[in-house]
């Protein structure tokens, strides 16, 4: 039967189910199909910390939201237009986010009395009035899958497991997605289990065919490819981009990359990714703990590698003393903090920006460390390269503040020309005529020489004890300590002359209000700014990549506007720094819900400030 095709400019779909239902995989496949089709997109995986929470319960709900469009988009979307709920728990946990009139696909097979009771539904919401106001598609997805796989030599359980592929097939039909990628993926994934592979492919195709033939869906949707700059694209998550950025830093510096890491959510995928790239000379060391991980990275840096450690906030807390050692010994080190909600164990799988002050100040003594923050998943690549550049050039640890949203979220990435990436000069010390002085500084950068073991004539000793300026001998002299403290600070402050000035987006030049963020909030803030501008109002936007040192023109930017709004997923950490440094009374907007900001809420915040002018 021929169906009506309706054109849309954008859609937000949320797949939600039990942790064991394969929702992340389903979302990921739909994303890849969408990327291949050429839509712009942004994703938000959201899953519990438990690997398999009790089946069918609210804590076990896992979801994946995908926003895709025929134009450039910035966020995974505030609220879904389409919710796929694979069980009552998924429905209950997500229905509040679906606006009235939204499409709701529910798997009725899972709406048993027992499953309903588990989440406190006294009656079946599919059958009573609960879902009035939504466009409900009540479909027995599990039993349709089992029927479609009747001819396969599979247990009922294995057949039921393919229901996510049935749902993916249906959605792929509904939104005109190309299917080759998913078919090839299933062939790869289940190469060792041909029967399971064929069953998953059959379930996927059955879902597609069901869409074509059923009367439950009278309309098929089409979202045209987005206009993108010419080039080669791929879809990429923040963690993968960070790993690639580190490999690139190794290639562009000629230094072997040495990763010391201890598994921690949501940073482990960087360790997994880097461990696959040994052919680049990358060494990965899964240490016994966070401290050993950073210790090994520092030891490798002492030996002339690009030492890297990857972790999340709790790991940074454990590494603090060692990062201080890298400050004192002035060795290059890249420290990646994929922030998650804290304090303590907090919400391991949820995002937050509350490690900024820890990165800035979380060490004993005066221990300045440059801090760099990526703004989007693909920007993680550039941020990692920039961190490595600063670390090597200035002989200093550098902290990269990514977050859980950037880490697992994805977006299309126009691949850079690798030959055009910055070159990083290690500039190892060689013996000269003068007596070697391990703490004699480069007059421009204030960096000390990097003299690695094996270099004849440069034998020297470094360590955490204060060193005499120049000679590097142990020194307990008060005047020397004062000097060294100031030199270490001046070295980091001087990096401000070596980074791009802060760019301000103020197209009309008439804005009186500036909104300034840092890190992973870039997408939501930019989308909010667009909304406000669409109403004919003026707002300026600036986003910080460098948190330490700040760009040299930051004060000037702040003072150019009447009001400055600083939204953060913390209680106002950047705001504290800006006030302390520049005596500018910025306006904070702070929410810590484990999720990114929504464009709509930030647009409201901007509007309120404009209105109060």
């Amino acid at each position: 039967m021929t169906k009506q095709v309706q054109q849309l400019d954008r859609v937000i779909i949320r797949f939600a189910g039990d942790s064991g239902d394969g929702m992340q995989l389903t979302g990921d496949r739909f994303t890849q199909e969408t990327a291949a089709f050429g839509n712009d997109l942004s994703t938000l995986p959201n899953f519990p910390a438990e690997i398999r929470a009790p089946a069918g319960t609210l804590p076990g709900v896992s979801s994946f939201q995908l926003h895709f469009a025929d134009h450039d988009i910035l966020t995974p979307g505030d609220a879904p237009n389409v919710l796929v709920a694979m069980n009552p728990a998924a429905l209950k946990a997500n229905i509040g986010d679906l606006p009235r009139g939204g499409d709701l696909i529910v798997n009725t097979d899972e709406f048993t009395r027992r499953n309903l009771a588990k989440v406190g539904y006294a009656t079946n919401p599919v059958e009573d009035e609960t879902l009035a106001g939504y466009r409900v598609h009540a479909l027995p997805l599990t039993s349709m899958t089992v029927t479609a796989l009747a001819d396969f030599d599979l247990s009922k359980k294995d057949a039921e497991r393919a229901k996510n592929m049935f749902a993916l097939g249906l959605l792929s039909w509904l939104y005109h997605r190309p299917t080759e990628g998913t078919l090839a993926f299933l062939e790869r994934k289940f190469a060792a289990k041909p029967e399971i592979m064929k069953a998953n492919i059959a379930a996927f195709q059955a879902g597609w065919s069901f869409g074509e033939t059923t009367e439950a869906f009278s309309v098929q949707y089409e979202i045209k490819p987005a206009e993108h700059e010419a080039g080669l694209y791929r879809n990429i998550t923040g963690n993968t981009a960070l790993a690639y950025g580190l490999v690139a830093a190794g290639v562009r510096s000629g230094l072997p990359v040495y990763l010391g890491s201890y598994p921690i959510t949501p940073a482990s995928d960087i360790l997994h990714e880097l461990s696959k790239h040994k052919r680049f000379g990358v060494r990965t060391f899964q240490a016994e703990d966070e401290i050993a991980a950073v210790g090994a990275a520092i030891g490798a840096s002492f030996g002339g590698s690009l030492g890297v450690t990857t972790t999340s906030g709790p790991g940074i807390a454990l590494k603090s003393e060692a990062i201080g050692l890298a400050v004192a010994t002035e060795l290059p080190l890249v420290v990646i903090d994929v922030q998650r909600a804290g304090p303590s164990t907090g919400l391991p799988t949820k995002t937050e920006q509350a490690d900024l002050l820890q990165a800035m100040h979380g060490r004993n003594g005066e221990a300045p460390v440059p801090v760099v923050a990526p703004r989007s998943p693909s920007d993680c690549f550039d941020a990692a390269l920039e961190a490595a550049r600063i670390a090597v050039k200035y002989r200093t640890p550098v902290i990269v503040l990514s977050d859980g949203y950037l880490a697992n979220g994805s977006e299309p990435w126009k691949l850079p020309d690798t030959a055009g990436l910055p070159v990083i000069e290690p500039g190892f010390a060689r013996a000269g005529d003068e007596e070697f002085q391990p703490f004699k500084r480069d007059p421009d950068t204030l960096a000390r020489p990097w003299a690695v073991p094996g270099t004849p004539g440069l034998e020297h000793r470094i360590g955490g004890l204060e060193k005499a300026d120049g000679s590097g001998n142990i020194s307990y002299d008060g005047a020397n300590h004062d000097l060294m403290t100031r030199l270490r600070q001046a070295k980091v402050d001087g990096i401000a002359n070596d980074i791009a000035p802060l760019a301000v987006d103020d197209p009309s030049g008439e804005a009186r209000v500036l909104i300034m963020g840092w890190g992973g909030t870039y997408g939501a803030i930019s989308a909010a700014v667009r909304r406000v501008r669409k109403t004919g109002q003026h707002v300026a936007q600036a986003h910080l990549r460098h948190l330490n040192p700040f760009p040299a023109n930051l004060e000037q930017v702040l003072r150019a506007y009447d009001r400055v709004i600083v939204p953060e997923i913390n209680l106002g950490q950047l705001a504290l720094l800006l006030r302390g440094r520049f005596l500018v009374d910025v306006i904070g907007y702070n929410r810590m819900r484990g999720l990114p900001f929504k464009a709509e809420e930030l647009a409201g915040v901007i509007q309120d400030v404009i209105d109060s002018e």
Binding site: A35, A36, G38, G181, H228, E229, G231, L232, Y233, R234, N235, I236, Y244, V247, A248, P256, Y258, G260, H277, K278, R279, F280, G281, V282, R283, F285, A287, E288, D289, I291, A292, A293, G295, A296, A297, I298, G299, A300, F302, G303, G304, S305, A322, G324, L325, T329, F381, L415, T418, P453, G454, G457, E459, H460, R461, I462, G463, G464, N473, I474
Partner: protein, 356 residues
């Protein structure tokens, strides 16, 4: 007998990749211009002199030797060695040295640590370095006290020790570092004494050549806070009666006249009996290369707080690939199998699309 205790039958020494020098080296080459600041009379002086006078024997380029230490009196050691050196933070030297050794096969990497640094705050790193068998030589100066913090009990202090922090006596049961190292899958575990330079250097020699982690416990006197801790082993009047000098391939007998012997006890461990009371065939022959660590462990249990008998020497010396060799092999295998890395191909991955 399995063979290569001290022998390196396979020819793979820890030092085969470390560049050698033809230049004549002496003790002086390894001294720095830094004033040594241990307390007068400290056992550390003797160890420093022994190390400085032993290193020329190895004939390694000085710039390819690195000493890494943690925190404590012993950890000042690198400042006095004219090699590369890294005085790090408390307990973490094995971790830092692991990063160095696994990235630089051309270096001879030594860790200098103490009983507090290695067994308290750094206990975790020590056991993991041992089980991985990283190419490190760990010198554990054991004086059974905290010196740099001025005299608190340490994890090797005897139970009941009266110190500043334990005025009524310490409650802790001490670690036996040899038992710990053997239990942590150590492949080379030895004990020696600061005052016995000849023995100390013989152990250092074997450690330097060992493939993987070598743990050398050095009984070291702190004459300020725990003076005389090892006196019975140093006192010419009694030391030969109580010191069991382990020698690979030799029956374990000791005493001035060899009048005491080590035999297997009924409980599965070892015990000391009069040599004359047993048939010679019952006397345990020391096999440092025994793959079964329980042999070395049983020897380590002959210690007692009262120094009735104390084994010194190489308890265990077995051959196992070192961690850095294995790590290097994976990197080489990856490059061989997949070809050298191509950055543009890597970042493109599998699923790309082109927009014109």
């Amino acid at each position: 007998m399995n063979g290569h205790a001290n022998g390196h039958a396979n020819g793979r020494s820890a030092l085969s990749l470390v560049p050698k020098t033809d230049a004549e080296q002496t003790l002086k080459d390894f001294k720095t211009d830094q004033e040594v600041r241990w307390c007068p009379g400290c056992g550390d002086y003797a160890i420093l002199a022994a190390v400085q006078s032993f290193l020329p024997e190895l004939g390694l380029k000085r710039e390819n030797i690195t000493f890494v230490s943690g925190i404590g009196c012993s950890s000042r050691f690198p400042y006095y060695m004219n090699t590369y050196g890294f005085h790090s933070i408390h307990g973490r030297a094995p971790a830092i040295a692991t990063g160095l050794a696994t990235s630089r096969p051309d270096l001879s990497v030594w860790v200098v640590t103490g009983d507090g640094d290695a067994l308290s705050i750094g206990g975790n790193h020590l056991i993991h370095a041992l089980r991985r068998n990283v190419n490190l030589k760990i010198l554990l100066f054991n004086n059974r006290i905290y010196g740099l913090t001025k005299g608190q009990y340490s994890p090797t202090s005897e139970t009941g020790k009266i110190t500043k922090s334990t005025p009524m006596g310490s409650l802790d049961a001490p670690f036996n570092p040899i038992s710990l190292a053997v239990g942590a899958e150590g492949t080379f575990v030895a004990r020696t004494i600061d005052s016995d330079r000849k023995h100390l250097q013989s152990v250092l020699r074997a450690a330097a050549e060992h493939r993987g982690t070598a743990l050398v416990e050095i009984y070291q006197n702190c004459n300020i806070f725990n003076d005389g801790a090892f006196d019975p082993l140093k006192d010419a009047a009694v030391r030969d009666d109580i010191t069991i000098r382990l020698e690979h391939g030799r029956p374990i007998v000791f005493g001035r006249e060899g009048e005491k012997a080590v035999v297997r006890g009924a409980g599965g461990g070892l015990e000391v009996v009069p040599t004359a009371s047993v048939d010679a065939s019952r006397i345990v022959v020391h096999d440092a290369a025994n793959p079964d660590p329980s042999a070395a462990f049983a020897l380590s249990r002959l210690d007692s707080p009262a120094f009735e008998h104390t084994p010194i020497g190489i308890f265990r010396d077995v051959d196992r690939p070192s961690y850095d060799e294995l790590m290097r092999a994976q990197v080489e295998e990856a490059a061989e199998r997949q070809g050298p890395g191509d950055l543009a191909a890597l970042i493109a991955g599998g699923d790309t699309w082109r927009i014109d």
